[in-house]
C-alpha cells in the first residue's frame, strides 16, 4: 500500500513529506529527479518509476508533483486515483492546489492526509465526510477560533462514514432548496490536412450542485437515454434502475459532485462545429515562410461559437512571426516554447476571422520537416452537441419543492487540426 508521499514543486524542492508507515528517506526522490531530467518536459515524466527498493508513482497536477512511494505490489491505478483525490481535496479545501496554499495550511494538510490514509489504506476520501472531520479554513473561522479557542476539528463521528450512503451527511438543512445540473460536453477530434475527420468523440459529464435538505431521493430522466451506452457513475447511482429503466436514481451527496461521465463515439453523432482553412508553408533555402489560417462555423446547430483560441507549436527554426489578425489578438513566444496563441473571440459568419502574415526562419537551417498542428479551443453555450437532453427531475422522500435547473455547454476538448 502507499508508504509515503512527497510533494515537489517545479524547481525540484520537496516541500512536504508524509509517511504512513516507517520513514523513507528523501533521497528516494533522487530517482524521480533523474527521470525528470531525462524527460526534459515536465509532462513527460513517466508515472511509474522503479528504484532498487521502492516504486515511485507520481502525478503532475497544477505545477506540482505528487510522488508516492510504495514497496509492495499495489495496483498503480489505485495509487494514481488516490493522488488525484488528494489534489482534488486540496483544491476543494483551499480553493487552489498550489504550493502557497499548501504551505499556508500545512497543519490542515497534514491532518487531511492522516485522515485520508491509514497504514496506506484509504480511510475517508469523500469530501462530505472530510469536511465534517476537519473544517475547511475560512477567514471568519480562523478569527473566531483564535478568539474563542475552539478548534477546527470535529469531535463527533461523521455520520456518513458508516451508513449505506457514505457520501451524504445527515441533518443537511437549507433555506433555499436547489438542484442544478450542468451538462458539459467536450469534443476530442483530430482533423487531417484536407479537413476530414480522422477521429472524433464526445466526452460528456453531468456535474451537479445539490443543496437540498434532509435525505432527498432524486430521479433524473433523459429524452434520449440511448445515447448513453458508455457511462461511468458516481457511486450514489442505483445501477439496477439504470439497467432496467434508463433512469438515474440516487440520493445525492451534499454540494458539488460529478454525477456521471459518458462517452459518445459513433462517428455520425459527433458534429464538428468549426472548420479551419490553413496554408502554412516554408520555402526551401529562404529564411521565410507563409502563414495563413481562417476559421469558420460548420455544424454549429445555429448557435454562436465563442471563446475561440488557437494555439500552435511552431517548429524550432522559427525565429519570429509577423502576422495580422482580422479580429482578436495574437502572441508569439519566440524564445522558449515557440508557441503562437491567437485569441479570436467569437465567430461572426459575415466576416470570418483570419490571421495571416510572414514567418521568419533561422537562416541556413534546413526547412522544417513537419508542419505544426493547430490546437483549437471554443465554447458553445446552451448546446449539448451530442443532442443529449434532460427530460425531468423528480424528488421523493422530502416534502418541499426544490428549485431545479439544467445548463448545457459544449467545449473543445483535445481538438487538433493537422496541417
Amino acid at each position: 500500500m502507499i508508504h509515503s508521499l512527497f510533494l515537489i514543486n517545479c524547481s525540484g524542492d520537496i516541500f512536504l513529506e508524509k509517511h504512513w508507515k516507517s520513514v523513507v528517506s528523501q533521497s528516494v526522490c533522487d530517482y524521480f529527479f533523474e527521470a525528470q531530467e531525462k524527460a526534459a518536459d515536465v509532462e513527460n515524466v513517466p508515472p511509474v518509476i522503479s528504484t532498487p527498493h521502492h516504486y515511485l508513482i507520481s502525478i503532475y497536477r497544477d505545477k506540482l508533483f505528487f510522488v508516492s512511494v510504495i514497496q509492495t505490489e499495489v495496483p498503480p491505478l489505485f495509487v494514481i486515483e488516490f493522488l488525484h483525490r488528494v489534489a482534488d481535496t486540496f483544491q476543494d479545501y483551499f480553493g487552489e492546489c498550489s504550493e502557497a496554499a499548501i504551505k499556508d495550511n500545512v497543519v490542515i494538510v497534514y491532518e487531511l492526509l492522516e485522515e485520508m490514509l491509514d497504514n496506506g489504506f484509504p480511510l475517508a476520501t469523500e469530501s462530505n465526510i472530510l469536511k465534517e472531520l476537519i473544517k475547511p479554513p475560512t477567514i471568519l473561522r480562523s478569527v473566531v477560533n483564535s478568539i474563542t479557542g475552539s478548534s477546527n476539528v470535529g469531535d463527533t463521528l461523521p455520520t456518513g462514514q458508516l451508513s449505506n450512503i457514505p457520501w451524504r451527511r445527515a441533518g443537511v438543512k437549507y433555506t433555499n432548496n436547489e438542484a442544478y445540473f450542468d451538462v458539459v460536453e467536450e469534443i476530442d477530434a483530430i482533423i487531417d490536412k484536407s479537413g476530414s475527420t480522422v477521429f472524433a468523440e464526445i466526452q460528456g459529464v453531468i456535474d451537479a450542485c445539490i443543496k437540498l435538505s434532509g435525505m432527498p431521493d432524486l430521479s433524473l430522466s433523459f429524452m434520449n437515454p440511448r445515447l448513453l451506452d458508455d457511462v461511468s457513475f458516481h457511486p450514489c447511482i442505483r445501477f439496477k434502475r439504470w439497467e432496467s429503466e434508463r433512469v438515474l436514481s440516487f440520493i445525492p451527496p451534499d454540494g458539488n459532485f460529478r454525477l456521471i461521465s459518458y462517452r459518445v463515439s459513433s462517428q455520425n453523432l459527433v458534429a464538428i462545429p468549426v472548420y479551419v482553412k490553413h496554408c502554412i508553408s516554408f520555402k526551401e533555402n529562404s529564411a521565410c515562410g507563409r502563414f495563413d489560417i481562417t476559421i469558420g462555423p460548420k455544424q454549429n446547430m445555429g448557435k454562436t461559437i465563442e471563446g475561440i483560441t488557437v494555439t500552435v507549436h511552431m517548429p524550432k527554426v522559427v525565429l519570429n512571426m509577423n502576422l495580422t489578425p482580422t479580429q482578436g489578438s495574437y502572441t508569439f513566444d519566440p524564445v522558449t516554447k515557440k508557441v503562437l496563441t491567437w485569441d479570436v473571440g467569437k465567430i461572426t459568419p459575415q466576416k470570418l476571422p483570419s490571421l495571416k502574415g510572414l514567418v521568419n526562419l533561422q537562416s541556413g537551417a534546413p526547412k522544417p520537416e513537419e508542419n505544426p498542428s493547430l490546437n483549437i479551443q471554443f465554447k458553445i453555450q446552451q448546446l449539448a452537441i451530442s443532442g443529449l437532453k434532460v427530460n425531468r427531475l423528480d424528488m421523493y422522500g422530502e416534502k418541499y419543492k426544490p428549485f431545479k435547473g439544467v445548463k448545457y455547454v459544449t467545449k473543445a476538448g483535445k481538438f487538433q487540426v493537422r496541417t
Binding site: M1, I14, F15, E17, H19, W20, K21, V23, A39, E43, N44, P47, V48, S50, I57, S58, E73, P75, P76, L77, F78, E81, K103, N105, V106, V107, I108, V109, Y110, E111, E114, D118, N119, F121, P122, T125, E126, S146, G149, S151, V153, G154, D155, L157, Q161, L162, N164, P166, D188, V198, E201, Q203, D229, D230, R263, E370, N371, N375, K414, Q416
Partner: protein
C-alpha cells in the same frame, strides 16, 4: 493568519522558544506551539528534542490537539522509544473512551508507532477494538492488525489476531469486510504459502454482497481478492461475472480495471458458445476505452494493461482502433504505448487508416516517437501482407527525407521485410546503398551489412562495400562485427574467386585480433568449416531461412496467461511476473488462469493445491544459455524480430553437429584462448557445475510423493511405470513443454516423452542428447518427430535407450541431464530416473551363490531401510517385485515373521542382495524391514526407493 508563518523561523533559538510555549499554561498557546512543531516536522526539520514536552500535551480533551500530538508521536516514537512508553497509558485509556472516534484514533495511532515496547501494550486494546460494537472502530482495528503484522508477525500469530480477522470477513458492515480483506491480502502477500484467504462459495457470496455497498477503495480490495478465487465450474464463474459487471461503470478507474481483471480471468472458464460469453466481450470494450479519456498517468497504466488484453483477446477492441490515435500533445509515454497497441490491432480492414496515421507520426518532432513510428510501419508490412507494398513505398518516401534517424530506422525494418517477403522488394536495394555513409548506429549498420551479404550476388560492388566497413573493424560494436564476419563469409561463398583475400582478412581479424569470445568462436567455426568442407559450409551458411513470424514481440502465451491474472498491478505495467521484480523475492505464488470446465466435470483447480507448492517438484532446468547456438551463424540481428523467429533451422543443425565432433579437434589445434561456455554442448561440459548438489534429495522425495498419489495401475507385464511428470516447463523453454517417464519392458528401456508446443510458431527439427551419466544411458535411436509440431499440439514419443553410452558418476546417482533441440533453440533440463528400469531380467541368483555372496560382502556395506504403509502379504510383495525383475530366492518364516531373500542385477552388472522382513497381520503398524547388501553401497539408497515405488503402486 496562515500556517506559512511556521516555515519562516529557522533561527537557532527556535527549539527553546517552542519548548517554553509547549509548557505554557494557556491552551491556545500550547496548540499553536504544537502546530509549529508539526509544521517543522513536515518539512523534514528535526524537532525530536521536544519529545517530552509534546507528549505532555497529550492528555487533553481537545481533539485537534490530541490529533496533532498523535501525529508527532508517530513520527518520532522510533527515535525516542523510552519516552514513547510514557504515552502508553494515555493510549490505553483512550481505547476505552466512550467516543468511538477517539477509540479508533487511539488504536490507529498505536499501530503506527513502530516501537516494540509499545506494541506489547497494543495487544489487549486491539483485541477489544476488533470486537467493538461500533463498526468504525472495528474497521480501524482490522487495518491495525496488518500494521502490527508488519512490525511483529510472530506476535500477531501468537495472539490469534489472524483468526479474528478472518471472522471479520463475515461482518455485517461492508466497510469492515472490505478492510478485513485488505488487511488479510497485505498479510498474505508476505506469507504466500499461508492459507489466509481460503475462499469458498459462502465467503465469496459475502464478498459480493459487501462489494455493492462499500467504498470505492474497498471495492478494489474485494475485487482483487475475488480474482484469486477459482470457481468450481462455469456456472459459478458466470454468476460471479454477472455480479461484478456493474463495477465496469464505476467512476474510479482502479475499480474498473480490477473488475476487468476478474472478468478476464473467469471468462477463461466460460464456453465460447455461451451467449453470455459474447455479451461479456461486448461489455468489456467501452470501459477500457473510457479509461483513455482520463488523466495521462491513468491512461498510461490503462494502456499497458490494454496491451495485455489485446494480446489475449484481440476481439474485444478490434473495432476501437481510432481511440488509440495519437494526439500531438499526449505525453511521450502515452504516445509510445498507443502506437504499440495500434500495431497489435492492425488488420487488413483498418490498415489504410493505420498507415496514414503512422506516416503522419513519422514527421513529428519527438525522436523516440518518430523512430517507433517508422518501426511500426515495418511491422505493419510484416503483419498485413496486402499492405506490404504500400509500407515499402512509404518507407522509401521517408528515406528520401534524409533525416538521419528516420533513414536508419527504415533500413532496420526493411531488412525484416526482406526476410518476410523474399525476392519481392529487392529493387529498393540501390536506394538503400545510397545511404550507406549516413548510418552511424550499430543496429542500422548491422542491418545494412546483412542486406549486402544476403544479396551479394545482386550488388555489383558488394565486396567494395563490405571492405569499406572492414577498415574500422575494431571500432565497431560486436553486433556489427559479427554481422560483418557472416556477410563476408556469405559473399565468399557466392563469389569465391574475387573475395578470397577479403575473407582471410576478416577471419584473421576475428580470430586473432579480437578479445571478444563470441566473435572468435564464430570466426573459428567458419574457418574450420570453410577449410574442411566448403560444400557443407555453403549448406550451413547459405541455408534457406525460415520466414519470420507475423507478430513479433508478443508475450509468450504462458507468461501472458500469468500476467492476465495480474491486470491492474505493477506486474502489468512492467509486463513481468511479480516473482521477477518483487523486492526480496519472497516466494510469490505463480498465478494461472483457471481451466475451462463444464459444470458436471469436476476439475482439479490449479489453486486447490493448498500450500502453493506444486504436487510434483519440477526438475531443475539448467538455465538456457542465451541464444548462443542460434547466434552462431548469421542470426544476430536483434529486435524487433528477435531470437526465436529468426533462428535458421538447418543452419543450427550444422552448428550442433559441429559442436559434437569438429570442435574437439579444433580445440586440440587451437588450445590457447578458445574458451567455450560450459553449456554449449552437453558432451563437452563438466556436468557437476550445472546442478546444485542439493538437488537429489528433494526431487527424490518429490518423485515418490508423486508415486503415492497415483492409484496403482500396476503394469505387470513390465516394470512399474510412473505417470508422466513435467520435466521442462514451457516457460523455461520458449513454449516447448516436455513431460515424460521411463519404462522397462521385456529387456528394453525407453523414455516416454510427451512434447507439447505452447508457443505460437511451428516447431520442427527435434533432436535429443544425454550428458554422460552414472549408468551410461543413451538414446538408442534419434528422436523421431515426424510431422512439425504446430501450436497447441502435442506428440507422444517413445525413445528407446541403451546403456552403452559413456559413464560418469553423477550426484545423485540417478541424475540424467538432457538437452533437447528444436528449430527455436536448445534447452537443457535434468531429471531423475527410477533405478528399477535398470534391473535386468537375468537377475536371479543361485541360492548357494546368494548365501556365499551375502557373507562375502562386508557388514558395513549393509543398509537398513523401512517401508511403511505397505499392506501386502509376502506373496503379493514377491510377485509385485518379480514384475520389476527383483527375484525372490527363498522364503522363510522366523518367529512369526515372513523373511524374503531376494536378488537383482543392474545393467552394469552390479548385484544387489536383499532381505525383506514382513510382519503378517498388521502391516500398517509395523513397517517392512529391508536390508540391502551390495558391493557398491551407494546404489542401496536408490534401490530402496525403487522398492518403495514398486510396492506402493
Amino acid at each position: 493568519m496562515t500556517d506559512s508563518k511556521y516555515f519562516t523561523t529557522t533561527k537557532k533559538g527556535e527549539i527553546f522558544e517552542l519548548k517554553a510555549e509547549l509548557n505554557s499554561d494557556k491552551k491556545e498557546k500550547k496548540k499553536e506551539a504544537v502546530k509549529k512543531v508539526i509544521a517543522s516536522m513536515t518539512v523534514g526539520k528535526d524537532v525530536s528534542a521536544l519529545f517530552p514536552d509534546v507528549v505532555n500535551c497529550m492528555q487533553t480533551d481537545n481533539l485537534e490537539l490530541k490529533k496533532l500530538v498523535y501525529l508527532y508521536l508517530m513520527n518520532y516514537a522510533k527515535s525516542q522509544p523510552d519516552m514513547a512508553i510514557m504515552a502508553v497509558n494515555t493510549f490505553v485509556k483512550d481505547c476505552e473512551d466512550p467516543n468511538p472516534l477517539i477509540r479508533a484514533l487511539a488504536v490507529r495511532t498505536m499501530g503506527c508507532i513502530r516501537v516494540d515496547k509499545i506494541t506489547e501494550y497494543l495487544c489487549e486494546p486491539l483485541r477489544k477494538c476488533l470486537k467493538d460494537e461500533d463498526p468504525y472502530v472495528r474497521k480501524t482495528a482490522a487495518v491495525c492488525v496488518a500494521k502490527l503484522h508488519d512490525i511483529n508477525a510472530q506476535l500477531v500469530e501468537d495472539q490469534g489476531f489472524l483468526d479474528t480477522l478472518k471472522d471479520l470477513i463475515s461482518d455485517s458492515n461492508p466497510m469492515v469486510v472490505a478492510n478485513a480483506v485488505a488487511a488479510l491480502s497485505e498479510i498474505a502477500e508476505s506469507h504466500p504459502s499461508s492459507n489466509l484467504l481460503d475462499l469458498n462459495p459462502q465467503s465469496i457470496n459475502k464478498l459480493l454482497t459487501a462489494l455493492n455497498e462499500c467504498t470505492e477503495w474497498g471495492q478494489i480490495f474485494i475485487l482483487d481478492c475475488l480474482a484469486n478465487y477459482t470457481p468450481k465450474d462455469d456456472r459459478e464463474a458466470q454468476s460471479i461475472c454477472e455480479r461484478v459487471t456493474p463495477r465496469l461503470s464505476h467512476a474510479n478507474s482502479a475499480v474498473v480495471l480490477s473488475a476487468v481483471k476478474v472478468l478476464m480471468k473467469f471468462m477463461e472458464m466460460l464456453s465460447k458458445d455461451l451467449d453470455y460469453y459474447g455479451t461479456l466481450l461486448k461489455k468489456l470494450a467501452p470501459p477500457l476505452v473510457t479509461l483513455l479519456s482520463a488523466e495521462p498517468e491513468l491512461q498510461y497504466v490503462a494502456l499497458r494493461n490494454i496491451n495485455l488484453i489485446v494480446q489475449k483477446r484481440p476481439e474485444i477492441l478490434k473495432h476501437e482502433m481510432k481511440v488509440f490515435f495519437v494526439k500531438y500533445n499526449d505525453p511521450i509515454y502515452v504516445k509510445l504505448e498507443k502506437l504499440d497497441i495500434m500495431i497489435r490491432l492492425a488488420s487488413q480492414a483498418n490498415i489504410a487508416q493505420v498507415l496514414a496515421e503512422l506516416k503522419e507520426y513519422a514527421t513529428e518532432v519527438d525522436v523516440d516517437f518518430v523512430r517507433k513510428a517508422v518501426r511500426a510501419i515495418g511491422r505493419c508490412a510484416i503483419k498485413v501482407e496486402q499492405s506490404a507494398e504500400r509500407c515499402v513505398s512509404t518507407l522509401l518516401d521517408l528515406i528520401q527525407t534524409k533525416v538521419n534517424y528516420v533513414v536508419q530506422e527504415a533500413i532496420v525494418v526493411i531488412k525484416d521485410i526482406f526476410r518476410k517477403y523474399p525476392n519481392k522488394y529487392e529493387s529498393v536495394i540501390a536506394t538503400l546503398c545510397e545511404n550507406l555513409d549516413s548510418l552511424d548506429e550499430p543496429e542500422a549498420r548491422a542491418a545494412m551489412i546483412w542486406i549486402v551479404g544476403e544479396y551479394a550476388e545482386r550488388i555489383d560492388n558488394a565486396d567494395e562495400l563490405l571492405e569499406s566497413f572492414l577498415e574500422g573493424f575494431h571500432d565497431e560494436s560486436t553486433q556489427v562485427q559479427l554481422q560483418l564476419l557472416t556477410a563476408i563469409v556469405k559473399l565468399f561463398l557466392k563469389k569465391p574467386t574475387e573475395t578470397q583475400e577479403l575473407v582471410q582478412q576478416v577471419l584473421s581479424l576475428a580470430t586473432q585480433d579480437s578479445d571478444n569470445p563470441d566473435l572468435r568462436d564464430r570466426g573459428y567455426i567458419y574457418w574450420r568449416l570453410l577449410s574442411t568442407d566448403p560444400v557443407a559450409a555453403k549448406e550451413v551458411v547459405l541455408a534457406e531461412k525460415p520466414l519470420i513470424s507475423e507478430e513479433t514481440d508478443l508475450i509468450e502465451p504462458t507468461l501472458l496467461d500469468e500476467l492476465i491474472c495480474y491486470i491492474g498491478t505493477l506486474a502489468s505495467v512492467y509486463h513481468k511476473p511479480p516473482s521477477a521484480f518483487v523486492e526480496g523475492g519472497r516466494g510469490v505464488v505463480h498465478k494461472s488462469l483457471p481451466p475451462r470446465t463444464a459444470s458436471n466435470e469436476s476439475a482439479e483447480s490449479p489453486e486447490a493445491a493448498p500450500t502453493g507448492a506444486p504436487p510434483v517438484e519440477q526438475p531443475d532446468v539448467i538455465p538456457p544459455q542465451g541464444d548462443l547456438l542460434g547466434d552462431l551463424l548469421n542470426l544476430d540481428l536483434g529486435p524487433p524480430v528477435s531470437g526465436p523467429p529468426l533462428a535458421a533451422s538447418s543452419a543450427q543443425m550444422g552448428a550442433v553437429d559441429l559442436l559434437g565432433g569438429g570442435l574437439d579437434s579444433l580445440m586440440g589445434d587451437e588450445s590457447e584462448g578458445v574458451r567455450f561456455s560450459p553449456f554449449m554442448s552437453p558432451s563437452l561440459s563438466p556436468p557437476a557445475a550445472a546442478v546444485p548438489a542439493s538437488l537429489g534429495a528433494p526431487i527424490g522425495s518429490g518423485l515418490s510423493d508423486l508415486f503415492d498419489l497415483t492409484s496403482g495401475v500396476g503394469n505387470l507385464s513390465g516394470s512399474y511405470v510412473a505417470p508422466k511428470a513435467v520435466w521442462l516447463p514451457a516457460m523455461k523453454a520458449k513454449g516447448l513443454e516436455i513431460s515424460g517417464t521411463f519404462t522397462r519392458q521385456v529387456g528394453s528401456i525407453s523414455m516416454d516423452l510427451q512434447l507439447t508446443n505452447k508457443a505460437l510458431q511451428v516447431m520442427t527439427d527435434f533432436a535429443i542428447q544425454f550428458n554422460r551419466n552414472s549408468f551410461g544411458l543413451a538414446p538408442a535411436a534419434p528422436l523421431q518427430v515426424h510431422a512439425p509440431l504446430s501450436p497447441n499440439q502435442s506428440v507422444e514419443i517413445s525413445l528407446p535407450l541403451n546403456t552403452v553410452g559413456s559413464v560418469m558418476k553423477m550426484e545423485p546417482l540417478n541424475n540424467l541431464q538432457v538437452a533437447v533441440k528444436n528449430n527455436i533453440d536448445v534447452f537443457y533440463f535434468s531429471t531423475l530416473y527410477p533405478l528399477h528400469i535398470l534391473f535386468v531380467e537375468d537377475g536371479k541368483m543361485d541360492r548357494q551363490m546368494f548365501l556365499a555372496t551375502w557373507k562375502d560382502i562386508p557388514n558395513e556395506n549393509e543398509a537398513q531401510f523401512q517401508i511403511r504403509d505397505c499392506p501386502l502379504s509376502a506373496e503379493a510383495v514377491s510377485s509385485k517385485l518379480q514384475g520389476s525383475n527383483v527375484f525372490t530366492i527363498a522364503k522363510r518364516n522366523v518367529e512369526g515373521q515372513d523373511m524374503l531373500y531376494q536378488s537383482l542385477k543392474l545393467t552394469n552388472g552390479i548385484w544387489v542382495l536383499a532381505e525383506l522382513r514382513i510382519q503378517p497381520g498388521n502391516p500398517s503398524l509395523t513397517p517392512l524391514q529391508l536390508s540391502l547388501k551390495c558391493r557398491a553401497p551407494e546404489v542401496s539408497q536408490h534401490v530402496y526407493q525403487a522398492y518403495e515405488t514398486i510396492l506402493k503402486n
